[in-house]
Amino acid sequence: MTIAAPAPRVLRRSFGFDMSKPILLLFAAILCVLIILPISWLVYYAFTDAKGAFTVGNFHRLVSDAAFLDPLLTTFMLAILSALICCAVAAPMGWLVSRTDMPLRRTVRLLVTASFVTPPFLGAIAWELLAAPNSGLLNQLFRELTGAASDEHLLNIYSFSGLVFVISCYTFPYVFVLIANALDRTPGDLEDASAMLGAGAWYTARRVTIPLALPAVLAGALVAFLQAMTLFGSPAILAMPAGFHTMTTKIWSLFQFPPKPELAAAASLPLLVLTVLLLRGQAMILGRRGYSVVGGKNSEPRLVRLGRYRWLAIAVAMIVLACPVFLPYFALLNAAFSKVASHLVSTSNFTLQNLHFVFYELSATDLVLRNTFILGVLAATIGTVIALVISYVTARKAVTGHAVLGFLATAPIAIPGIVLGVGLFFSYTRPPFVLYGTLWILLIAYVTLAMPAAYQQMQSAFRAVHPELEEASRVLGATRLRALWEITAPLLRVNVVAVWCFIFVGVVRELSAAIMLFTSQTKVLSVLIYDLNESGDLAAISVLGLCMLIITSLIVLLANKLTKLGGRPTTAGI
């Protein structure tokens, strides 16, 4: 392919100006503004007092006051426990789905995707309906079955363990996808070799399969830890009624009237530092434990025959999926059509009043649906374009300094949503950039938060497309951009669509940054649902939540259809 005459290229070059350099510089500048500006303000605020003078007093207060230390400890415990539970559940599930002949394997994958689409805060509210100590449907069932007294209960969701459970429910999909995909990629050759050399199934699993999957499990544990640590919605919904704070809810409460932004900034920094340290730790561990498993001629993984345990396996998988999917959606569906959310729908109890209220009376519905949709489409489009360009540059090493771009695009992974929200609030409520009160500030937050995962997904896609096709185009005289647009982009269409959908879904389920940045005119669906929860309007939440599920499911289904991955969900990465 590289033997074409260079003449036309020279000719073309002399006429057409190659726009790639300035555009790349522009993208670098955009990333700098997106990330460096809010973090700088955060650091500035953390080290100044109310009058603007330098101080370390904010941190001193942070470590000396039990009102801050307790949430820090709680958050740490919460994150560790959630990570352990997620791995303990997701690893066997991933193995069952990827490596065994369990029936309904594809359905299980699809259902895990459904739990990914569920925002954690909506899951938390649904679990209130299920496991509030007295009115929870499961507790009512328990009393019905055992004849226990009216004030006895089996489950109490308003507790530390309840919070760990709910967070694990909605974090486990991340871990599951990482592990299942890793197992998918692991070729059967090595296991075959082990079997041929006389090792038993258990020995092969212990010496071959598990070590190969270990990096994915560790990565999953880390993702789960970070998720649990930085989540805002679930703790705000479940921990505060129980009378305790996590770091995220504490940071948020520091913004309530009378606001203490210095303390909020100071409380944000430990989250940021911890995240950076953990990510570095992961890089070190995985750096040593990488296995090159993808070669040119891999055999399909051999499926383990479960025999008569097949049905037991699927039963267990379904019970696991009941927690994030079946039970919560049953509870939401029930509450949407019931006069009283804690009563099961019956002929005397059925009502369409809740639907009527949400779609005909609630004046915020139109506004938030419109805002959410606009932001979802814009963030997904802009985010995909930026990720596409940057991953192209880094994958093809197109300009000097491409590594910096890659680093900048990955950096937001270390910024928890609520911390970014605080930073953006500081950055864009003052001149020269007064964006607070517009959709722009939310758009910036969403694009920034989505960038690492979008970039990582695009980059792995680029690596799969050999550069020779682009080179051919450039040899024939096209500029870099034209080659990218006409050759590479169509080849990556499938991945582009997947990344677009991924960002869209992420926008719809984002709460922690939006809660810091919205105004009455720029409210989004997640914030409205959170508002409704504070005033106890569970029926309206159920209707809106189901509405949200339908929209995002349609998008994800579309993605799966376009990417033709069948049962393989588009949620790889983080």
Partner: protein, 353 residues
């Protein structure tokens, strides 16, 4: 954010102390002449299309009022509902960033209107009904706000879970160990109703009550509109505080709830309406203010919403205990204004959130 002044410093730092007594009959300046609802006002409001109302009244009632207004005048009402303390924060945050989205505000913490008035954000505007019918101690002497809604913050119980004769009669009854784990309570950092009630209760029965209540393993919710709903769900047997109007409307729609008027007295909550100078829809705002204080809207608030009214033409609904027969705690917005930050801080210390 830094420029946001806390209520405390606002009071100490300025000479506005006199204006702090919100409903004093001492008249400093004449309120502007009252404005009636004229066809010209309606036409101008229609041109603007909608009024934006920030309120802390329960969402369903707020939307009913909004829809009734829209049905009457063909002008939409966009309701932005959240807790009164959040409304205060929201408007402060928005105004600090020069975002002027709110037309009319309603807060269950009457001291907020004093804050906005002192900042010079409120428009002097007097609806005709307010001038003609509203008692002097329910309207601002400068014509910047008036008592849109009046209600109580009550104890209540679920009649399926608690027998009438066992129900608590006073706040101190709630400290009985038998109610441990059975009480739901709202938060003064979110709800203006609870902020106002906490102020009155601390003044009349002391922090000691709250210190002991904090040991009762309560379910801590945010909005004062939530405890009545938690009672109706059967999630808790008793509410230590919460709005009376939802207990009425839940009860009248067949839910097993019953209010209790505590022997120590029941906190009285005033929720004034005011209009902003920088309102983006000034005519719609005026029309909406006129509607809010009309006998029609006030009667709707009573009948559908369970609120009380100081409009002499509005009639109390039979079957509800009349205000005159209830021992009330005295409202004092100026006092709340001074104590609010301290109440929030002390509350968080006792209840941990």
């Amino acid at each position: 954010m830094k420029s946001t002044i806390s209520r405390r410093s606002l009071l100490v730092g300025s000479s506005a102390l006199a204006a702090g007594s919100a409903f004093s009959t001492y008249v400093r300046a004449a309120a502007p002449p009252p404005t009636a609802t004229t066809p010209a006002l309606i036409a101008a409001a229609k041109k603007e299309g909608r009024a934006v109302w920030y309120t802390s009244v329960d969402l369903k009632l707020a939307q009913k009022i909004g829809k009734a207004f829209e049905a009457k005048y063909g002008v939409a009402c966009q309701v932005e509902r959240t807790g009164a303390e959040r409304v205060l924060q929201r408007i402060g945050q928005e105004y600090a960033a020069n975002v002027h989205a709110v037309d009319v505000v309603n807060s269950s913490d009457a001291s907020h209107l004093v804050i906005w008035k002192n900042k010079g954000w409120l428009e002097a505007y007097v609806p005709e009904d307010v001038a003609k019918y509203y008692p002097a101690d329910h309207k601002d002497p400068d014509g910047m706000f008036a008592s849109f809604r009046v209600f109580l913050c009550v104890i209540a119980y679920n009649t399926k879970l608690v027998k009438k004769e066992e129900a608590p009669k006073s706040f101190h009854d709630l400290l009985d160990p038998k109610w441990k784990g059975k009480i739901v309570k709202a938060h003064p950092g979110y709800s203006g109703t609870i902020m106002t009630a906490t102020f009155q209760m601390v003044r009349d029965i002391g922090w000691g009550y709250f210190e002991q209540l904090a040991k009762q393993n309560i379910l801590q919710v945010q909005s004062a509109a939530d405890p009545p709903k938690k009672l109706a769900l059967g999630e808790r047997a008793i509410q230590a505080d919460g709005v009376e109007y939802l207990i009425f409307s839940e009860k009248e729609s067949g839910q097993p709830v019953e209010p209790v008027y505590a022997t120590e007295g029941t906190p009285l909550i005033i929720g004034p309406n005011g209009m902003f100078k920088a309102a983006p829809h000034p005519n719609a705002a005026k029309l909406f203010q006129n509607y809010c204080f009309s006998p029609e809207c006030q009667q709707l608030c009573i009948d559908v919403g369970g609120l009380r009214s100081v409009h002499p033409q509005a009639k109390e609904k039979p079957g509800r205990t009349p205000l005159s027969q209830i021992k009330l705690m005295k409202d004092d917005p100026a006092g709340v204004l001074k104590a609010a930050d301290e109440i929030k801080a002390h509350y968080v210390k006792l209840f941990h959130v």
